[in-house]
């Protein structure tokens, strides 16, 4: 009862936090607080939000392991989907508003500008993950689901690179993002080894342990 209630509360909180950036942008737009270059401002804020939320999804497993607070696990999918939502908005805003659907230039950007290619790839990689985030797909794909969802690491890496690559001189925030990514990655690998039965690749240990990915994902789906 109590557990159920706290889970609901947590879920509500995640939805609130997930929607807050969009509401904030809308509010700024309606009250003309987006500055002199609103198109660029919205584009950048959508991108920031997507990257931050992706990093948050990465932080769930380490936090859960440190705090043993297992009720965090189901939130990962929700946050991940919010991240995908913002990333999709980021791309659509770029294509529709920033480039006014001038395909010639969009294609040139994607092909010729490495930072755009990298960002575009990061988004493409997340599409199958978003599609297969449902309970049905988790069941259908079994162990391959986990394998597939490791793409999120590649996607976040590309996202950070995309961010880094467009900065003119002030690399402060890209460095913060890179540091966060590195720390979050370092936090997960030693844990796996320590808890593992020396299994190469880690898939085997994923099978039965309460703290691993597959079970947390299924937990997530069953409670969602």
């Amino acid at each position: 009862m109590n557990k159920k209630r706290s889970r609901l509360l947590l879920k509500g909180l995640v939805w609130l936090l997930g929607l807050a950036p969009a509401v904030w942008l809308f509010w700024r737009g309606f009250t003309h607080r987006l500055g002199a270059n609103p198109i660029e401002e919205v584009l950048h804020r959508l991108g920031d939000t997507a990257l931050i939320l992706l990093l948050v999804t990465l932080s769930i497993t380490p936090i859960r392991r440190l705090t043993r607070w297992t009720s965090l696990a189901p939130l990962r999918r929700t946050i991940g989907l919010f991240a995908f939502f913002y990333l999709t908005m980021h791309f659509l805003w770029y294509a529709i508003v920033d480039q006014t659907l001038d395909w010639e230039f969009i294609v040139e950007d994607i092909v010729m500008r490495p930072y755009i290619l990298v960002g575009f790839t990061a988004w493409l990689l997340l599409i199958p993950l978003a599609i297969t985030s449902t309970r049905g797909w988790i069941r259908r794909l079994k162990k391959n689901w986990q394998r597939l969802h490791r793409l999120v690491y590649v996607s976040i890496g590309l996202g950070v690179l995309h961010f880094y690559w467009q900065v003119k001189a002030d690399t402060y925030w890209p460095i913060v993002a890179t540091t966060a990514l590195v720390v979050l990655m370092l936090l997960r690998f030693p844990w796996r080894r320590r808890s593992g039965q020396a299994s190469p690749g880690g898939q085997v240990l994923a099978a039965g342990q309460p703290g691993d990915k597959v079970s947390s994902a299924t937990q997530g789906s069953s409670s969602d």
Partner: protein, 324 residues
């Protein structure tokens, strides 16, 4: 007032006293309403400019009514509010809004400018003496940033050539170098190592003497706000905005090419010439188009920012891909 008012604006362009008095009344009355000032200005500025904020209409002292003013290509001016709130001036932070927020620490008066190097008449001038030679006037220029956005700005200033002639450079002087104030107390952004301070820019002598090249002390007929490079800055309209060095404290004539700050920061991306050129892309992004602030669809970028007839001769025979 340190700077002379433009004496050469046709009287037809000066707002009749009756009109501006009415304007003040209107603004006074609407001040009680929420958004009073801005809305009042927009209503009166009215008409074709149609932008959301025509602060110009509220210019004190019945100065020029900017709302009807257009560039030589019939372009609408970028609103004063945008010109003064969206700035690249890393001395006050690297976000566009940072300079407007942080530049209050700059003290543009008193101000001195040192003229030196290869010239017959070096000296240290107070700002008032430095600008005395020049004929002050309004100049409406496009400003194209290397980041692919642009504005149309009514500067107020005088030809750089005027102060060059007074300095009387030697025959060996092939370039002129400018420096921005270096004072981390007044310019807190200089505490960070994001660029190599002080900011340095330069021009070849023929570019510097070109009639389009000006030193601006004002914008929209008023003194430059700190975030726009008070009290005096360079404006070279056919080059990317970063050539327009702000808050200038020195001007040095030299034989070798000045090593400008952005070139020093990333020489594969930013060169000495920095001429606006849609054919020569930045290594990371396209320069073919630009976003004019306030417009939805991007515009085609013009070679030499549309000043090709006036400046193409300066670069005859030069490979603009090499000298970017």
């Amino acid at each position: 007032m340190l700077i002379r008012k433009p004496a050469d604006i046709p009287s037809s362009e000066i707002t009749p006293e009756r009109v501006y008095i009415n304007r003040r009344e209107f603004i006074g009355k609407s001040a009680g309403i929420a958004l009073g000032g801005a809305a009042g200005g927009a209503l009166i500025g009215g008409g074709i400019g149609g932008g959301a904020h025509h602060l110009s209409a509220q210019t004190p002292g019945g100065q020029r009514d900017w709302s009807t003013v257009r560039s030589e290509r019939d372009e609408v001016l970028t609103p004063y509010e945008d010109v003064t709130s969206y700035n690249n001036f890393y001395e006050f932070g690297t976000e566009k809004e940072d300079p407007a927020r942080n530049a209050h620490t700059l003290q543009p008066r008193p101000w001195t400018i040192e003229v030196g190097g290869l010239c017959a008449n070096p000296g240290v001038y107070g700002l008032e003496d430095f600008v005395r030679t020049g004929t002050m006037e309004d100049r409406i220029y496009r400003m194209r940033c290397v980041e692919a956005w642009s504005m149309v700005i009514p500067w107020y200033g005088f030809a750089l050539k005027d102060v060059i002639d007074r300095a009387d450079p030697l025959g060996s002087a092939r370039y002129v170098e400018f420096k921005t104030l270096h004072d981390p107390v007044q310019m807190p952004g200089q505490r960070s190592r994001v660029l190599d301070w002080p900011y340095v820019e330069g021009l070849r002598m023929d570019e510097a003497r070109h009639p389009l090249t000006i030193l601006a002390t004002g914008v929209y007929g008023r003194d430059l706000p700190n975030q726009n490079g008070a009290p005096i800055r360079l404006v070279v309209p056919w080059k990317y905005g970063f050539k327009g060095i702000k808050s200038i404290v020195s001007m040095t004539f030299m034989e070798q090419e000045p090593y400008n700050t952005w070139k020093r920061s990333a020489s594969s991306e930013y060169g000495f010439y920095a001429n606006v050129n849609p054919e020569v892309n930045h290594p990371r992004w396209s320069q073919a188009r630009e976003r004019r602030l306030g417009e939805l669809r991007r515009r085609e970028t013009l070679l030499f920012n549309g000043y090709i007839d006036q400046v193409a001769g300066l670069y005859a025979g030069m490979d603009l891909r090499v000298y970017y």
